[in-house]
């Protein structure tokens, strides 16, 4: 229940402080401290939503303006690798919630195991993304002086009116959005690596595992961003 005992007397505060070393003195009890941390994390996540939202908005506006070129460029992405990475991220989100559950139950080795598996899945995602990027470099689909776009025929061999400059814009947005997402993945992998070490050292208990929970919230948000990036970049232009 959220009957946050903000007005609880200082006497109880002192008592709790003696019980739980993780409880800071300006919070009434562990639950209030946890709620405050969770709220702060969500406020940060909202800024992340708006940050990625700006890029999603730019993508939508340019997709409407340069529809044919964006569709042709989008069809050059590998649905197979994108779908595989989506599945990897979903499984990693499951291992994160199971890690939080293990932390709540005080199962230290299980917690470390789930955190390590999460990091490995995150790295799998990044390796696959790396292969995708390599393919873009090989085919000169990276925006810049060497950019080339000659794939102006659809699957039925029909000519599509494509402006290479507009296709370049698609790939600029592709690299900005997936690149920024990959940066978040790298940060997440580092975060969970550190948490795995702390968990191994026994920093967390059933009474205090807020860092695991909040890192989990971050990881799920990065997962959600990919859940939208995948259809928008890879899927929705297959039949246009």
């Amino acid at each position: 229940m959220s009957d946050s005992p903000v007005t609880a007397g200082s006497v109880t505060t002192m008592e709790h402080e003696a019980h739980n070393p993780a409880l800071l003195h300006h919070f009434s009890d562990a639950q209030q401290q946890k709620n405050a941390a969770s709220l702060g994390m969500w406020l940060f996540l909202v800024t992340e939503i708006m940050f990625f939202g700006g890029m999603f908005c730019a993508y939508l506006v340019y997709r409407v303006a340069h529809f044919n070129s964006f569709a042709a460029a989008s069809q050059q992405l590998s649905i197979g690798m994108g779908a595989f990475n989506t599945a990897v991220l979903i499984v990693s989100s499951v291992t994160v919630v199971l890690a939080v559950k293990a932390a709540e139950a005080g199962k230290r080795k299980l917690l470390v195991g789930y955190l390590v598996v999460t990091v490995l899945l995150g790295m799998t995602f990044l390796v696959v993304k790396g292969f995708e990027y390599r393919e873009k470099f090989e085919r000169h689909h990276v925006p810049g002086p060497t950019f080339k776009f000659t794939d102006t025929f659809d699957d039925n061999g029909k000519q599509i009116p494509v402006n290479p400059k507009e296709a370049e814009l698609f790939f600029s947005l592709y690299f900005a959005m997936t690149g920024m997402h990959a940066l978040h993945m790298i940060i997440g992998c580092g975060l969970f690596s550190v948490l795995a070490i702390f968990a191994w050292k026994g920093h967390y208990s059933p009474g205090y595992f807020t860092p695991i929970e909040n890192a989990g919230l971050y990881w799920h948000l990065v997962d959600i961003i990919w859940i939208y990036l995948f259809p928008l970049l890879y899927l929705i232009s297959r039949h246009s």
Binding site: M1, S2, S4, A30, Q31, K34, N35, S38, L39, W42, L43, L45, V46, I49, M50, G53, G54, F56, C57, L60, V61, V64, A65, I79, A83, T86, A87, I90, V91, S93, V94, V96, V97, L98, V100, K101, E104, P206, G216, L217, H220, L221, D223, I224, I227, Y228, F230, P231, L232, Y234, L235, I236, R238, H239, S240
Partner: protein, 99 residues
């Protein structure tokens, strides 16, 4: 609503079930991309993505059952502002046919 700090998480089986549903939805959206639905391809893809994101937010991020109602308000406010950003921008750009 959770009774105490001990009960913020669900059972392991429930998490695996949600994970399986998310994987099935991923397979569905990939399959739907290869079917020609005309103007409804993007609609279907974004609808499925929204269902997936909602499942993650409610059950993996524990917004459903969060003991602090303020957290729910912040989440809703965040997506509300995103909706303003997208809808007002697109309301401008999608109605510039006079150019």
């Amino acid at each position: 609503m959770s009774e105490h700090e001990e009960h913020t998480t669900h059972s392991q089986g429930f998490y695996l079930l949600i994970g399986a549903v998310l994987l099935v939805l991923t397979a569905t959206t990939v399959g739907a991309a290869f079917v020609n639905l005309g103007p409804f391809n993007p609609v279907v893809a974004l609808l499925i993505a929204t269902v997936k994101a909602t499942l993650v937010v409610l059950f993996f991020m524990h917004v459903k059952g969060a003991s602090e109602k303020l957290t729910g308000a912040v989440v809703v406010a965040g997506f509300f502002f995103l909706a303003i950003l997208l809808s007002l921008s697109l309301a401008d750009y999608l109605t510039r046919s006079w150019r």
